[in-house]
């Protein structure tokens, strides 16, 4: 070589991330399709399951002459006690931010399977790019996609009537994005790691489909943990989605919840541990046997 290049540890990371992103922004259809599901949930489910009007409109028990005002009061107290807000639509909208982030992150394993099958990976492995960066590029790509998509979902939710905390500060928004980033990092790392040795995209797809719905429903994305059966509660408290939603509802909607610091500590641990596992295993398992 006619020049000696000093390669820094993160070298190639951005080039590889950009490669993945390029595929994405070149084909906007993929972005649009992936946004359909959370928006459909929001528009159909969020708007239909409007508990506040369910309780109040036409609730007329024969023989009892309860004033409408009392019913309204009771209904809103019940809702507050359960959801932390009377506004189910806004509650669900926050859940949809983690929904889109989860779905995007789960897909990151697929792309490494394709890289292996189509030979791209064997080229990457002959270059001096650190193995960990091949894995982290997938993770970073997934984080960036997730945040862009979550932003779009957030804007659409606001247009559809989501009510943000009137005292919202820029710091709250940063906090919400940090929570989503940590969650995406953790999940993307898990799925890239699972795919390190795989050549079968079918099995990757199967794992994805097996896990996405349980992860969604065993969290507070659609309903509060309080309303879950006793056996589901511990699962929900292990599920990182619960903490992301808790943070985002506190920051974006201004409702009360768990200890914010503990939420963040949990998510940071989740993200760091699985990223490290991914990087360490990539040294060993990314190469062919």
């Amino acid at each position: 070589m006619d020049m000696v290049v000093k390669l820094h540890p993160l070298h190639g990371l951005w080039a590889l991330t950009n490669r993945e992103l390029a595929k994405w922004y070149k084909v906007p259809v993929i972005l649009i399709i992936s946004l359909i599901q959370p928006i459909v949930w929001l528009a159909f489910f969020g708007k239909s399951m409007n508990f506040a009007t369910m309780f109040t409109s036409g609730l007329n028990i024969p023989g009892l002459n309860i004033p409408k005002q009392v019913i309204d009061e009771i209904a809103s107290e019940i809702l507050k006690a359960n959801f932390g807000t009377t506004d189910y639509f806004s509650f669900l909208a926050v859940g949809m931010l983690s929904f889109i982030t989860l779905f995007t992150s789960l897909q990151s394993g697929m792309s490494i399977v394709w890289d292996r099958r189509l030979g791209v990976l064997s080229k990457l492995l002959t270059t001096p790019v650190p193995r960990g960066n091949i894995v982290m590029a997938k993770v970073l790509n997934s984080v960036i996609r997730s945040l862009v998509q979550a932003t779009i979902v957030l804007v659409i939710a606001i247009l559809l009537g989501m009510k943000l905390n009137p005292g919202l500060t820029p710091l709250d928004i940063v906090g919400a994005y940090v929570a989503l980033t940590l969650m995406s990092m953790g999940f993307a790392s898990i799925f890239v790691t699972l795919a390190l040795r795989s050549t079968s995209w079918e099995s990757q797809m199967a794992i994805m489909n097996l896990l996405n719905m349980p992860l969604m429903f065993a969290s507070n994305s659609f309903y509060p943990v309080k309303s879950m059966p006793w056996w589901l509660k511990p699962v929900a408290y292990v599920n990182p989605l619960t903490y992301v939603n808790d943070i985002n509802r506190q920051l974006l909607l201004g409702v009360t919840g768990l200890n914010l610091l503990m939420d963040f500590a949990y998510l940071i641990t989740f993200a760091v541990i699985f990223s490290l596992i991914g990087i360490v295993l990539s040294w060993r398992y990314l190469s062919e046997t």
Binding site: K6, G12, A15, R19, A22, L118, K123, S287, E288
Partner: protein, 332 residues
């Protein structure tokens, strides 16, 4: 001469199957060295170990002064590879693929652009630089792969069947460029090929490999000599049996056969043996009406060492089609 590659008991086992079996060889700096062998001989497996894509089960190799097992990262910095299968990203353009690989080698943007443009020009792909690789033909993809393998101006270039499935004209153009680059940068080239005449013409030394073992190493000339040298055919006008005795009396002549008045035999160097024989025949007033001297072909060399014939074009095209089908299947 210093060694660019030194394989020491290099071995690869897949389960019970030994794909590469304790091979030892050296490649000198600046030379073009070819692995020649039938399908499944272990050529690709050897390249994969030398390029650090897969780890040897046993033994090791020194590539450019670095141990492939202990210092794989160092090896990767100084080598270039053109693998047997396609490795470019189909969703990106040819240009983007080159720039990506350049970034992975840490080549600064400006420099990378210059090199990419030069390489695309060389492989005659400039016109398709901004097209997605998915739209390339097989030959175009292969040419892009070669450009990608050269972007870091490697000290040692590994070419696994570099001209597989290309037409004769493109093959010649690629060799021409590889040779020019080699001169310019003093590159060492390790290649595998199915094309006997390519190995014969472009490789300075050849290793014949089969069933994971090296059967012979040498220059094309040396290998041909090992097979028994040139085949000489003399047609005589006179007593064939006397002529035969004369021929058999010459030093180094083997495998003499006679049919009608034609004598065929092998001799190490036909060019120097022929005049001696003619003179001896002349003394006995036997006239030779025609004489032909044929060097053994690589095909004969190959047959001698492996007991197999390598049907050039046919097997390679077939291989190529099989490969295309694999890709098509993966994409579904």
């Amino acid at each position: 001469m210093e060694t660019a590659i030194k394989a020491i008991n290099l071995t690869k086992r897949y389960g019970n199957f030994t794909a590469v079996d304790h091979i030892n060889f050296e490649v000198y700096y600046g030379e073009v060295f070819a692995f020649l062998g039938p399908n499944g001989a272990g050529k690709t497996t050897t390249i994969k170990m030398l390029t650090t894509v897969t780890r040897p089960t046993d033994g090791t190799a020194i590539v450019g002064g670095y141990d492939i097992v202990k210092q794989p990262a160092k090896v990767r910095e100084i080598i270039g590879t053109v693998p047997q299968e396609y490795t470019s990203d189909e969703d990106l353009t040819g240009w983007e693929n080159l720039m990506l690989v350049a970034a992975l080698y840490g080549i600064p943007k400006r420099e990378a652009r210059e090199r990419a443009a030069e390489l695309l020009d060389m492989v005659e792909l400039s016109y398709a630089a901004d097209r997605r690789v998915e739209t390339y033909s097989g030959g175009m993809r292969r040419r892009l792969e070669i450009a990608m393998g050269l972007i870091n101006r490697p000290v040692i270039l590994f070419l696994d069947e570099p001209t597989l499935g290309l037409d004769a004209q493109t093959r010649a153009a690629i060799w021409d460029y590889v040779y020019r680059l080699r001169k310019q940068y003093g590159m060492t080239i390790f290649m595998t090929t199915h094309y006997l005449e390519e190995a014969d013409k472009y490789a300075e030394r050849i290793a014949i490999i089969d069933h994971g073992k090296i059967l012979a190493i040498g220059t094309p000339k040396e290998l041909k000599e090992k097979v028994g040298g040139d085949v000489v055919t003399i047609e005589v006008n006179g007593d064939v049996n006397t002529a035969r005795k004369v021929v058999e009396g010459i030093d180094g002549v083997t495998g003499v056969t006679v049919s009608n008045n034609v004598i065929t035999f092998k001799v190490r160097n036909g060019g120097t043996a022929a005049p001696v024989i003619l003179e001896a025949l002349n003394k006995l007033s036997i006239r030779a009406t025609s004489i032909t001297i044929k060097e053994p072909t690589m095909d004969e060399v190959f047959l001698e060492f492996t007991g197999k014939r390598l049907r050039d074009e046919e097997s390679s095209t077939e291989e190529f089609m099989r490969f295309r089908r694999t890709v098509a299947r993966a994409r579904r």
